[in-house]
Subunit: 345 residues, 4 copies
Amino acid sequence: MIRVGVYGGSGYTGQELLRLLVGHPEVTVVAATSRRFAGVPVAEVYPVFSGLTDLVYTDASPEEVAGKADFIFLALPHGVSMEFAPVFIRAGRKVVDLSADFRLRDAALYEAWYGRHTSPETLGEAVYGLPELYRDQIRKTCLVANPGCYPTSIILGLAPLLNSRWIDPSSVIADSKSGVSGAGREPQIASLYCEVAGGFKAYKVGGHRHTPEIEQELSLLAEKEVRISFTPHLLPVKRGILSTIYATLAREATAQEATDLYREFYREEPFVRVCRSGQFPNLSSVVGSNYCDIGVTVDKRTGRIVVVAAIDNLIKGASGQAIQNMNIMSGFREETGLPRIALFP
Amino acid sequence: MIRVGVYGGSGYTGQELLRLLVGHPEVTVVAATSRRFAGVPVAEVYPVFSGLTDLVYTDASPEEVAGKADFIFLALPHGVSMEFAPVFIRAGRKVVDLSADFRLRDAALYEAWYGRHTSPETLGEAVYGLPELYRDQIRKTCLVANPGCYPTSIILGLAPLLNSRWIDPSSVIADSKSGVSGAGREPQIASLYCEVAGGFKAYKVGGHRHTPEIEQELSLLAEKEVRISFTPHLLPVKRGILSTIYATLAREATAQEATDLYREFYREEPFVRVCRSGQFPNLSSVVGSNYCDIGVTVDKRTGRIVVVAAIDNLIKGASGQAIQNMNIMSGFREETGLPRIALFP
Amino acid sequence: MIRVGVYGGSGYTGQELLRLLVGHPEVTVVAATSRRFAGVPVAEVYPVFSGLTDLVYTDASPEEVAGKADFIFLALPHGVSMEFAPVFIRAGRKVVDLSADFRLRDAALYEAWYGRHTSPETLGEAVYGLPELYRDQIRKTCLVANPGCYPTSIILGLAPLLNSRWIDPSSVIADSKSGVSGAGREPQIASLYCEVAGGFKAYKVGGHRHTPEIEQELSLLAEKEVRISFTPHLLPVKRGILSTIYATLAREATAQEATDLYREFYREEPFVRVCRSGQFPNLSSVVGSNYCDIGVTVDKRTGRIVVVAAIDNLIKGASGQAIQNMNIMSGFREETGLPRIALFP
Amino acid sequence: MIRVGVYGGSGYTGQELLRLLVGHPEVTVVAATSRRFAGVPVAEVYPVFSGLTDLVYTDASPEEVAGKADFIFLALPHGVSMEFAPVFIRAGRKVVDLSADFRLRDAALYEAWYGRHTSPETLGEAVYGLPELYRDQIRKTCLVANPGCYPTSIILGLAPLLNSRWIDPSSVIADSKSGVSGAGREPQIASLYCEVAGGFKAYKVGGHRHTPEIEQELSLLAEKEVRISFTPHLLPVKRGILSTIYATLAREATAQEATDLYREFYREEPFVRVCRSGQFPNLSSVVGSNYCDIGVTVDKRTGRIVVVAAIDNLIKGASGQAIQNMNIMSGFREETGLPRIALFP
């Protein structure tokens, strides 16, 4: 049993962390912080917790939380995590940071896309928290940079192809669609029900900040620099990301061979499911679970391979993956406390 | 560990039973039947099960299932359950029937609303499966008639008031709103996405078949015959029922006193939550959980009490309650395997 | 051709006014004001207007707008309209006010529910803008108080019954459900997509500010003081209000007789449709149109009559009705520029 | 005033035709056929028509309809239109066919994707009904093959680029997302509310029947054979198609230059709007209107151009475009009777 603190716990990501942690058999949540809701019971801000936890949001300092908790999740905006993570690490605590602050290995790249980095010296300690690629390093580190939601779906969708050199890395196009919870709980016109329901749009075309994170990991897989076209879209659903990914094949292959490649690559993975050849995932099959579902086919007419990868953006794309990382870092069974069956319908 | 069979497992109710049973620590699912999908893996009909169960739908006879299973859930249309339940009971199995066939104590009433009853002699063995009212009888029976979804919300919403004689029973009006999964998975125009999304309507006004079931239970609580106005509506959501219930107070009371009455009545109940005075439930707080959330207030201007009760129609309104009944009938802890935190957002 | 100004044109109600006015053959829109978006083209704030209007929001004073426009719509928050309406009236302009400021005939009642009224002397000039009840007065006035959205559905739903003395006025219960656009375009957590989609809730139970407005009109119809129970709910749809209304019959009647009563009462009305006996409206049939659809039945078992009334809250419940009033006040054909066929699916 | 018949009028496409024709000032609808609903008033099948039309569905033969109508819309399944269109043409009537039967110039191509073609001799008379490309031919023909919904969005999205030789035609990838009405009104599990809401999926990846139609038109524009990757997806909305299209630039260009290219190409078009540089369309801005909205940008990092095109699939993608074609064929003003402002929110 470890004592866990959630720093920045009142957004959707923080709420999801609490939801999963309250049901996790190996942890006790000892702190959840929120400036906005300090003093308010979690169950008042989120009535789903009524009767299930007496936790009250506090505005405790990092030092206070470090004094109480063994393990800390940072669910803070980028630019803030980089200030707080070092406090916890110096105190000997383990940290999973859900912001972008420690995902990019190159501080200059961070500064080009996000702004000034005030903790570049900590970057070296951070491990990119995609267990399917970095499980061994995650096991040993005290600081995990939890991947972004779009990157999780795209990197898992492409890893077998880049690793096997099946595709031309310069040909990758990722057309991604995300539910609205990805925009967080801040009140803004663009996230209102009336603006979203019945609509659909692309946004930040060619300029989304997850681009360098995706390219960093794809480049490492390809062992050469990769640049991709990445277009995020806003789906009128609450949860879920589905990425449709296109690449030009560098060799001949059938749909079945492609499926076999994926099955082999993810053979031991507890949270990646590869669809039968000719089948593709539906968001409905992953929403509420920690799975990434992937379908793949070959379009012989054009010589392209098409991959569809789906996750719950708040679970495998954020809080579930964070707990998966905690499980690995803490020596728990990796599946512990993580939901597997989606809520359907 | 008991062996469980789900008879009629391919509709939404059957799927939800399987979803909950697959994660239940005290049971093994040994059979799931479906005429339509006989021979097809459950995970093909419902991809949420991929990687989680190898179960294949069969069209096994009741006798065959009785030979394999200790406990049977019947998720069949009304009129069919009454044929099959006796087979299982004669074989010494325990049964929870999710149809309407054994809910009405009076076969004549059944025939007035549903059609001919071919097993009236079995009615006497059946216990109405609302644990909050009949826990002791449920513990001892081999046949539970699992309550309807609308009745669950309305009876739980009114029990404290009728039991305490706070209201005039002839004044009750229940305005209920249900998600679309209540209509099942049969393809029909009225359940198409394009017909439902963005719409809202009342249906079967003054004539819904759940009326006699509701009135039977309210009459038993009031110890006199009760007739109510009941209007179901179709909500553009997948899951959930919210009933807004009006009654004329037979005594003076404040909102706080009404809340206290409910809190006291449901003090020991694991799956009923009473909102703070002035607060009312949102479907979002119960969808995905087995809770019934209830809020109550007094409208001094009109002398009426207003109760709002919310459940997930597929869980507390059907499959979750069925498993709650199984837990009671089998001597398991009542909460075992039942979800408590809703999936939000 | 008249020159029209929309004062407060950047919320959903203002947008809907502009949408309808841009297509209205008898008017030219000469001004649309917005503090927040002053200087911004309407088509940038609402891209539906791209290519259709060059109108730019201004923060012109009432005096300036009075100098340019013959007819003014006030789409302002309550408390603000009461300051501005007198300016336009003194300048000899005609005004339809969409706020609550001039709906209640009794300033004391206004102050009990809303706050201080600074223009009580103007109340006497205002006509309640429900054409089905006040067409003649509307024709002659220079100030129309456009009805609230909930009141429109409930008053139209009850007028034939109260007028004919068919029901006990003290028995009325109105259970209303509204789409999210009723909450306006202000960013707030409760209106976010993730908070609304998949959910449903009652709000302001027994305390909504539309109550006195509804009761004022029902009392005038009944020629005695009427108090009702009114519960608004938030529907996960963008547009539409559906009110389910219950009352105890003061006489015997069949469903067909009730339908005939409604058909007769609304025989000449261009924007009220009465469903065939046994049929009830769906929001889908009115969203996008200026119709109010009404269905009615008698529940013999309980002696109650049940009425279901549906409107588009932004059209018949606000901007469409405002234009219907403008048409009457300006001597245009009443249907001019008003949409009749809903957008379905 | 012309007399119009709608052959196959009870699906969503037929309903939309009737909705638009009922409000069209130059036509009278003299017949609407439906086998399923023969003898039933249109207003009973679709209550949006209550009070607006007395039309009753008939199962009149083509010959009967040809005897009454000057102009016929065929809203029939593919394979059926090809039988009926010749009857009308031989009778000297003008026809817009909304099926796929006359869209492909090459009968062999039709047979490879759809099945046997029984009227290949009629293919030569048909004009592909995209007014932006074929206005002059449409004006003169008696048979228009109305484009598919996906093709409309993709061809309009690419025409300026192919026409100007700005892109490498072999590099085109079209990732399209469609609302559920595209699947029609036939009851099927995949179109149920509970299967669609909250979900999202790709379907017919690499094998959708609109592929040859798209490629035929792109090839004509490029004056060389073009093959594209095309992936349709099912969006949880009722109406609308948004296509995100990627291609490799064959020359240097800025986003502004690309926007200017589109503005110039569509300068005179009444139903194409090009967004300002850096802006992209939202389905919400076109749903309910006949517009195609297009946004375009250049991704310098990858040398690709990204185009986003949005339409209402039932209007510009089907029935609205059909009426636009009728207007052209009949010498009416092209915009007559076609909605321009979307219904928002």
